[in-house]
Symmetry: C2
Subunit: 493 residues, 2 copies
């Protein structure tokens, strides 16, 4: 048995070579875009454009058909019109191509004739032991190792631990842009399209086994086999956090989903129950799924729902307290010991409450001391910290506008920026030391020095709005409770 | 009667001169920041720093007290410590300063002693006919005419038609950053603080009369006089859209609000009823309030809840349909006439459904024709359009990476960018012609050429996520129904 047969995903995730069948010289065509994106993404294997009418595209020699390619092809990416797909699949089979991605639309989603062609295509592939992704899909991204950006939108996200399987290519696109905005990267991005052969459940299984993937996200319109989906979701969730955005929550959504991928979404209440049973986390939007991922890949899981809130502004604390309570988090009261301890740190008029409002506590170090009291306390399982970033904004403004050395504006500005950088580093250090999550939220969090590096190094989860931070924190709690559930069952067994 | 007495708001919104009492040379102090921001913001009146121990700050001559200022002072901004406030207010009164903003904290929110001082301060001001904003507030921004940025955070938002009154300075800050991110500007930003004298209701009344303000937003923790609040809200909502973010929805939020501004938030259900009765629109987050404002200042009101969705990607349409239905919007079915008309435009395999998925309809002009069919139809009151921006991304990439003229990449790229720009201009033109709202949503909407100018010219409301667009559309519908309610009552009367 060869390595390829042992792990069929190798051909999709780490192909040593890809053929682009239907490659085009015309920059307006998908067959150009796909080849262009693969080259632009710096794919590490060999690329073979296939087109009987061309000699050269984008500097690469073009082959008339698969038989003429002078090396084995691990993955064939098919950008041929529906009417021409059957002979090409035959050709793949004869030339021992074991994995194919059919990008083109106009199959099952376009009516009975397309559906019949889709079935025939799958049957031919099956007869050769070939597996298919698509049709009607955006393609695949496989960053780590392969650097394969074989998909339609010109997106080249950094490598990272988040894997995606999406029944919509457009929403795979949305996952990527939301990830880029918050600074996280991806391992695999799979747009499963019509799922003529390989289905969400198969990719879910593959991502659950994939060592480069730590968190799995999915956009789902419907499933063909509910029992199998439950089983595979349960298995995947037992290994890694699995977050689902499920469409078809309403009649309007159900209709639209059916017309989009022909998916029967089924009763939303049924799916809700299924997700609960399987240990999947349901997110309402793409952004929320990405936000929860950012927390999961960077923070330890909280051991309960009691959360401390430390804020650099009163109003932020008030709204965050509301959002926390509405999400089922417990904004626990401070113990009398903790109030006593904080009395030593904060000015006499501090608010003696969770959220602790640091508004007047400007003295250096107070913020970190306060955070540490929350982390030390058994009463709290994690912390939300609100408002970081403004010292840097203010500081940079002073530095930029300094008039003369006597004004001391540069010195004051530098001091503010430096202090914030220090606070930020200490927050991360504290989180690690106490193994409790700390999530940050601020309108200007992006301005904190070295935030981007820290996000890339996965030590920080930082959000531009209060509610996004609270929802992400809710995701951490949810995952913690799912893991507890799984462990509870293990203990019983 | 002088102009000032006729309109006391003149002193707050268009002061001809301001005194900064407690101005400081020390860049670490609020008394510096405030003066600095006023100068940086390009205030059009005269500025008089007051500090008995300084001669010059930031290039301006400093006055030992108000009496020495050689011109009338319209507005005094007070950055003096609580312990020193009473003689300063006396001084203001004696020197005929009729408007004051007390920035400093440490009054009513800090305990009984601060509360007593706050009362005394207000009584003194009242005896001189002086009105006070604050204490414990962030200050005021009054862009149009005055260019007065007399507030703490270094934010200088552009002038625009949105007015804000916020019981939290931090959340006024959040309103500004959210507005900047989406491209809208502000008329007045008022942080009302402890509301020792002037309250939210007073500012609400002022903004309702203010010709520069078209939409009013408020962050509210509590009100002192429920009946007055109802009355003023009703009055304001009768004139302009009024959007409220109300804190204290949960026990945790109520506690936090009380500790923040001493506000008794009261029962949330009661407020909900009050807002409904008064015709206020309640938003869940700061961002949502800003998003609704962006729609209100740029789009006509829809005459009903039936919405057409046109999408450049299937998945986006599916999720948007769900969000619409959950928000109470009606994703109405297409009439057979409209299906027939679209059959003439779209390829044979189009989805025959609302949302109309344009995925395969690449031919130039199809998108605009489709939009126009929705706008022409009595069946639909407005449109959501999803996915604009990707042609520009793709086009720019081609232009940037063009290898040689023979590749035709530059030509194709330019064509795509040009086409999107044309579509974008036509969308705006259509919206005007049919007087129906069109809201845009796309991950990359910011990339559309001339988007920023169009936002500034208030012809466009564009959102980076589907859900934000749907929530903003909901706000338009809500306002439309409120206006209808008011008009219905007028007719009866």
């Amino acid at each position: 048995m060869t390595q390829k047969e042992k792990n069929p995903w190798q051909n999709f995730f780490h192909p040593r070579s890809v053929a682009v069948v239907g490659a085009s010289r015309d920059p307006q065509k998908w067959g150009f875009t796909l080849l262009f994106n693969i080259l632009k993404g710096g794919y590490k294997g060999r690329v073979f454009p296939v087109n009987p009418r061309e000699k050269e595209i984008l500097g690469l020699p073009v082959y008339a058909n698969l038989a003429q390619i002078p090396a084995p092809v691990d993955l064939a990416i098919l950008v041929v019109p529906p009417a021409g797909i059957l002979p090409v699949i035959q050709d793949c089979g004869k030339n021992e191509v074991k994995a194919g991605i059919v990008i083109t639309a106009g199959f099952g989603e376009s009516g009975p004739r397309g559906k019949a062609r889709e079935r025939e295509m799958t049957a031919i592939a099956e007869s050769f032991g070939m597996r298919l992704m698509g049709p009607n899909c955006q393609g695949i991204v496989s960053t780590e190792g392969a650097s394969l950006y074989a998909h339609m939108p010109p997106q080249f996200p950094p490598s990272g631990p988040v894997g995606i399987v999406s029944q919509s290519g457009n929403l795979a696109t949305s996952f990527i842009t939301a990830g880029e905005a918050i600074g996280i990267g991806f391992s695999r991005i799979i747009s499963s399209g019509n799922e003529a052969d390989l289905q969400t459940t198969d990719f879910l299984e593959a991502l659950a086994e994939d060592p480069g993937t730590e968190v799995i996200l999915s956009y789902l319109e419907g499933v063909r086999d509910g029992r199998k989906f439950l089983e595979k979701t349960k298995e995947a969730s037992g290994k890694k956090p699995f977050i689902i955005v499920k469409a078809g929550q309403t009649e309007a959504g159900v209709k639209a989903a059916f017309s989009h991928t022909g998916a029967l979404s089924g009763s939303d209440a049924l799916f809700e129950a299924l997700f609960a049973q399987a240990g999947a986390i349901r997110a309402e939007t793409i952004e929320e799924a990405i936000d929860i991922s950012a927390a999961l890949i960077s923070q330890p899981l909280p051991k309960g729902r009691r959360v401390g809130v430390v804020t650099l502004g009163g109003g932020w604390g008030v709204l965050a307290a509301d959002y926390c309570a509405k999400a089922g988090l417990i904004v626990e009261d401070l113990s009398s010991e903790m109030i006593k301890a904080l009395n030593e740190v904060l000015p006499p008029w501090w608010n003696r409450l969770n959220p602790v409002d640091m508004v007047a506590g400007y003295r250096k170090g107070d913020l970190i001391t306060t955070l540490e009291l929350f982390l030390k306390s058994d009463r709290f399982h994690g912390v939300l910290m609100l408002g970081l970033g403004w010292r840097t904004v203010r500081g940079n403004l002073l530095i930029t506008d300094a008039r003369s050395p006597e004004d001391k504006m540069t010195a004051a500005g530098r001091d503010w920026v430096k202090e914030e950088k220090k606070i930020f580093a200490e927050v991360q250090e504290l989180g690690r030391r106490y193994a409790k999550p700390i999530l940050l939220a601020s309108d200007v969090i992006r301005n904190v020095p070295s935030l981007a590096e820290s996000v890339r190094a996965r030590r920080v989860a930082a959000y531009p709005t209060l509610r996004r931070a609270v929802k992400a924190y809710w995701g951490l709690v949810k995952r913690s409770e799912i893991v507890e559930g799984f462990e509870g069952k293990k203990e019983k067994a």
